[in-house]
Amino acid sequence: MATTTPTDVTPPVLPSAAMARPAGPSPMRRALRLLRRNKTAVAGLVILALWLVIAAVAPIIAPYDPLQDQNLKARLQPPSAQYPFGTDDLGRDVFKRVIHGARISIPAGIIVVLAAAAIGITYGAVAGYMGGWTDNILMRLTDLMLAFPLIVLALAIAAVLGPNLRNAAIAAIAVTWAEYARITRGQILAIKNQEYVGAANAVGVPNLRVMLRHILPNAQAPLLVKITTDIGAVILLIAGLSFLGLGDPPPSPEWGAMIALARPKFSAAWWTGTFPGLAILTVVMAFNFLGDGLRDAFDPRGQSHQ
């Protein structure tokens, strides 16, 4: 097969109009319409939008300085009108900390998954398109990555790299990319021998261009579903690592770290740990709702499988 030229590198964004179909709306547009009718997905979108707004306006509605915000005279106050989520053992406003935590967990989850997806999709695309022994070797490495339970490998990596949010994110990327490689490769193998790919090759379109313009857009439905649900899973993973002391150190308002801090006094001051936990739960649920809705919407059989 022809060699690829570097000038062909265009980012594999999810182009909705890349696959011009002669009849009917594009699969993407049809999916969007179905998505709007899916109550679960709409609920997910609404919760998510709320959280994104909260994260965006947090510094405006709750100016917050982790060092100066302590008020030792108001330690461990239960929820009240003044402190809707109560205060922690340093007299910090739990409500403020929770909404500032959204500025850590949500972007971290999104960045990690996008990075992992970019790595995995490229990797899987290369493996699937090349085939042969390249494919064989590349895929053995993904088998290896998938042979570990996620948090265990992430824990080992984070422990070796040292405890902070950046390293927790690196560990999360390291354990997440492999499934994207596997899905992308599977999709490419399924599509590689279709006539339109052969046709594109025949008229002299370079390999990489065929891959980016014709193959990847076809793989976008399962990948998009996976990206959505994975953001939730990664938020859980990073919160778990932080809870274990392998994420951001205090006084960071990272949700997992807040729960770790609240743990010794949970009986006496339930609010210090309950609200960050509810924050994680609602955000992750929103991503799962949305992912579920996308899965239903993309399912060509129109059935709600899975």
């Binding site: 824990l155 422990a159 070796v160 809870f243 274990l244 002391g245 743990r263 994680i280 709600s304």
Partner: protein
Amino acid sequence: MNLFSFITRRVLVTIPLLLGITLLLFAISRIGGADPIAFIVSERAANDPAIVAAAREKWGLDRPAPEQYLRYVTNLARGDFGLGFTNKRPVAEDLRQFTPATIELAVTATLFAILLGVPLGVIAALYKDRWPDGVARFISLIGVSMPVFWLALVGLEIFYARLNWLPGVGRLDTSMTAPPLVTGFYVVDGLLAGRLDIVRSNLSHLILPSLVLGAFGMGLITRMTRSSVLEVLQMDYVRTARAKGLSEWRVINGHALRNGLIPVVTVIGLLFGGLLSGAVLTETIFAWPGLGRYVVQAAGIRDYPAVMGATLVIAVMFVVVNLAVDILYGVLDPRIRA
């Protein structure tokens, strides 16, 4: 392909995978910037080059990386996981001690996940798009969205501290001592020792952590069961069964469930990985003396031999369970063997 060669091939494929796991773990332990020597010798001795050099030689840290890896693998093959940096005990002994507690918890959590997840999934499929389906899907989504460490804390607070319906942390009541060690599983060892009180205490201590740990698996199994049963319900043979006048109960029980549940078997392998991951967090909160808590404690003090040993055992358990699931699937569905 016949069953025997199918199984042989699956087992053989696992061997390079296991070697790869050791190589990856070795590589991870190398990429860390920190010098393990700092955790071996005391701070004062670290200023003495002679002591440091002697320690390097003793721990083989002065050898080139490939040689270190070879030594690591041959030692592993002999069951030697090295000495923990901190407690200076053989890691293998620690692992033997802590593994049964993790398996015990993983098994009961899996049971809870299946016992709750399969019926929920079946109900959801049978009442598709009606309210029982909505409720079942909602519960399963909560299950897979729940931060397990938070659920553990809240569960302990409610069912132990407030209501006192269930015991608190640990594998046994604090007044009890462990039964004489035979298998390491307290239920078995308790029965062997004729100590029913130990068995009872152990089982009651298992309820809360198993439910917490099983919540994720329950969600996963519910979704899988639902979609699988829905798929089967559209099959021609189900329509035939209905058409020939079988009662709805016979159709579902005799045709839909039996075939619909086969794919659910595969999700158990996936589930087990989730369980082992969850065990890391659950064990930490429930002071459950298993591999998860061990690896967390070791990670906190960067005790590499302990972290790598426990990670290896957890990964091997995961691989073995997936192998078993693969084989079981091949037995249940001969088409897979092709």
